[in-house]
């Protein structure tokens, strides 16, 4: 008697004593292991993932008297708030500014922004965790985002990402990540190196490119997006010269995205002119810093 035909299992068979939840027991990857605070002996610090204590009041707006904010950062955020009819609109640019000062969106950075903007840290954490460009963990000095979206993958973007990762190896200063569409499919396969778009990158050029990143030089100057002329044969009535990436001619020029921004020293913080607009009406404070003392006023 033959066994009836059956659909093969999608999951590997579990042996007696193996962990369930549909997953065979695997080695925990190191980065996941490190996410959890642990004692020296490897056991978890108790309470690290306890649910929020709902009986406690949420974190209040930080008190300006006890929250030191670098003067430059404060002035920047205030200038940003003045650009909008509602000061809360400045949350994204303010967090970006604080990230530049602190290097990442640290809890301290969030508290400082919250203090200046008169918002709760919880609100800003909810915003910061939504967007890809806020680093809620420390980041490395250089960043290479290799596009792995459709157009780049069709032209070998995934092989490029693997090659770049292999070339960088264990370098502690360079982070390599596959990234969703960066909006430069015309130079596929491409990468964004510290915010500078470069492409199309041949696999042979990867070692040269990584060396340039390590040396702090502009990566593959001839292949930067800035130097690319339009492909449309009808667009130009004459031949124009391409933009020379290595020249500095006073036009906005981002060899490094942080360099284009007014970078401030966290300690002294000189105030530059913000690219703002005619100031709108000063926005009302929507939340009082602290509830007033005494009995609640009658409504």
């Amino acid at each position: 008697m033959s066994t009836p035909p059956r659909i093969p299992d999608r999951r590997p068979h579990l042996h007696v004593g193996e962990r369930m939840h549909g997953r065979a027991q695997e080695e925990v990857p190191q980065e996941l292991y490190d996410l959890v605070p642990r004692f020296g002996n490897g056991s978890r610090v108790p309470g690290w993932d306890d649910a929020a204590d709902l009986t406690k009041d949420p974190q209040q707006i930080p008190d300006p008297a006890t929250t030191p904010v670098p003067e430059g950062l404060r002035a920047d955020i205030e200038a940003l708030m003045a650009r909008y009819p509602d000061r809360r609109s400045a949350a994204l640019p303010a967090l970006a500014t604080a990230q530049k000062v602190h290097g990442w969106t640290s809890p301290e950075a969030i508290r400082q922004v919250a203090c200046v903007m008169r918002l709760t840290p919880g609100y800003l954490i909810s915003v910061a965790s939504f967007y890809d460009m806020f680093d809620t963990k420390t980041k490395r000095k250089h960043r290479i985002f290799v596009c792995t979206n459709i157009s780049c993958s069709l032209n070998g973007g995934r092989e490029l990402a693997a090659r770049v990762k292999a070339q960088v190896g264990e370098d502690e200063e360079i982070e390599v990540r596959g990234f969703e569409c960066l909006g430069a499919c015309d130079i596929a396969p491409m990468a964004s190196i510290d915010g500078v778009y470069v492409g199309p990158i041949d696999l042979d050029e990867v070692p040269e490119m990584i060396d340039q990143v390590r040396a702090g030089q502009p990566p593959l100057p001839a292949k930067q997006l800035r130097a690319r002329l339009s492909t449309d044969p009808h667009a130009n009535s004459q031949d124009f010269p391409a933009f020379d990436v290595l020249s500095v001619d006073g036009t906005p020029h981002a060899a490094n995205p942080d360099a284009a921004q007014p970078v401030r020293d966290p300690a002294s913080g000189t105030v530059g002119e913000m690219p703002g607009d005619m100031p709108g009406p000063s926005a009302p404070f929507e939340q009082a810093p602290d509830p007033p003392e005494g009995p609640e006023p009658k409504r």
Binding site: D86, F134, S151, L182, G183, S230, H234, A260
Partner: protein
């Protein structure tokens, strides 16, 4: 002969500065507009019939006319959060000719009685945002922005707002939330932004390319502009051609041009010895079309009639060396990553579609999975607050639909491969093979 309106001498050095732009006749359209009453400017926009270039293809003039009359604060948001895979025309426009966009925004604001304008640009476009910042500063110093612009009654402020990396913020209501400093979650519509948008005020939202068309419309007159292009798809359109083509890039075409001419003559067609297998006519959100559809004229209505959409005007060409399963997986992965998580059909549907496609690739799938994938897609479409879920379901659904034999073949081959690799041999799939 194609008319070149937006891309005229786009590579001229220094075009991003006010001096060069003015020397070439820049801001003359604005002077002309300000000499007319706002209603007449609106009439020109309506007469031009220009349709939104961002994806939905809604007539821009009508959108402006929906703004309520009155003296309340009204807002203009330029959607520069260009993140649709395959789309990169706005990037080039902002980088090389930012004043064209600013002039278009001022004219549109005059027509709609708008006094506050924003450009929401995606955070990854740092270079373009810097260029825009500098251009806005120049325009303000020259009196094109601020109070009483060029002696008229128009007051307008313009702020360049940088996003922080979220595809969903290109959806108009999510963009508004993000601009208000919140998480970029889409809102329920209605109320539409024309009535209650930014800060609950009337808001006009248009794409970079649409607003960049406005100076040309004023320059030549709406009726004259409407003569360019095809019926109901007037004007020129910049198409971003990418994927397996020899000359990927942005091309300004007259709407109604044959799709084959765009892909083969302008972009050079697939590499030698390769054929077009299928193509996305309007970004990765549009249902795919097959080579026989290459004869279609490239305009809004013809592409819609073929069951797809012109969308943002991004053509992605896939040649016959590629597997449709890979492309479906890459597409689904993108939407899975970018789903904001507000609505369950999109959040769960994109996730499960990716899992199913990964199963297909790993050789653990059965042809039944294709039916499940198709049903997941039909259950997403129309059931979410915004169209991000639909944007995954439509192309993936169309790929499964149009290339079903290839999917089934791939499943069988992958299963055989995984069986050979695994030490435990499985029994053949007798039951399910008969089912299809």
């Amino acid at each position: 002969m194609t008319q070149t309106l937006l891309y005229r001498d786009i590579d001229e050095p220094g075009l991003n500065t006010l001096a060069t732009y003015e020397r070439r006749g820049g801001y003359q359209a604005l002077r002309k507009a300000l000499s007319m009453p706002p209603e007449a400017v609106l009439e020109e926009l309506l007469a031009s019939g220009v349709r939104g270039r961002g994806g939905a293809g809604f007539a821009m003039g009508r959108k402006v006319s929906f703004l309520p009359k009155g003296t309340m604060d009204k807002y203009l948001c330029c959607n520069a959060d260009e993140s649709e895979p395959g789309t990169f025309m706005d990037r080039e426009l902002m980088q090389k000719n930012p004043h064209q966009l600013i002039e278009g925004m001022i004219i549109a604001s005059y027509a709609g009685g708008i006094n506050r304008a924003f450009i929401y640009i995606r955070g990854e476009y740092a270079l373009q945002a810097d260029i825009l910042d500098a251009a806005v500063e120049e325009a303000r110093a020259a009196g094109y922005l601020g109070e009483k612009i060029l002696g008229s009654e128009l007051d307008l402020s313009l702020v360049v707002h940088r996003g922080a990396g979220a595809y969903i913020c290109g959806e108009e209501t999510a963009l508004l939330d993000s601009l208000e400093g919140k998480r970029g979650n889409p809102r329920l519509k209605p109320p539409f932004p024309a009535n209650q948008g930014l800060y609950q005020g009337p808001t006009l939202i248009n794409n970079v390319e649409t607003l960049s068309c406005v100076p040309a419309i004023l320059d030549m007159g709406g009726a004259e502009y409407a003569k360019i292009g095809a019926e109901n798809s007037t004007g020129t359109k910049i198409v971003s051609v990418s994927g397996n083509v020899q000359r990927p890039g942005n091309y300004e075409i007259e709407l109604g041009m044959k799709s084959r001419d765009i892909i083969y003559e302008l972009a050079g067609g697939p590499p030698p010895g390769r054929e077009v297998k299928f193509w996305f006519p309007g970004g990765s959100s549009s249902p795919v079309l097959k080579p026989e559809d290459l004869e279609l004229p490239y305009d809004f209505d013809s592409i819609a009639k073929a069951g797809s959409m012109l969308g943002s005007g991004a053509i992605i060409v896939i040649d016959d060396s590629q597997s449709v399963v890979d492309v479906a997986l890459w597409t689904a992965e993108f939407y899975k990553h970018e789903s904001c998580g507000k609505c369950s059909p999109c959040r769960e549907g994109t996730n499960w579609t990716v899992k199913m496609l990964e199963r297909i690739k790993a050789g653990q799938a059965t042809p039944m999975d294709l039916d499940i994938a198709a049903s997941v897609c039909t259950n997403i479409i129309g059931n979410c607050l915004c169209v991000l879920g639909d944007a995954m379901a439509m192309p993936v659904g169309s790929m499964v639909d149009k290339f079903r034999p290839e999917f089934e073949d791939y499943i069988e081959q992958a299963r055989l491969r995984s069986e050979q690799a695994s030490s435990v041999p499985h029994e053949p799939l007798q039951v399910l093979q008969g089912a299809h």
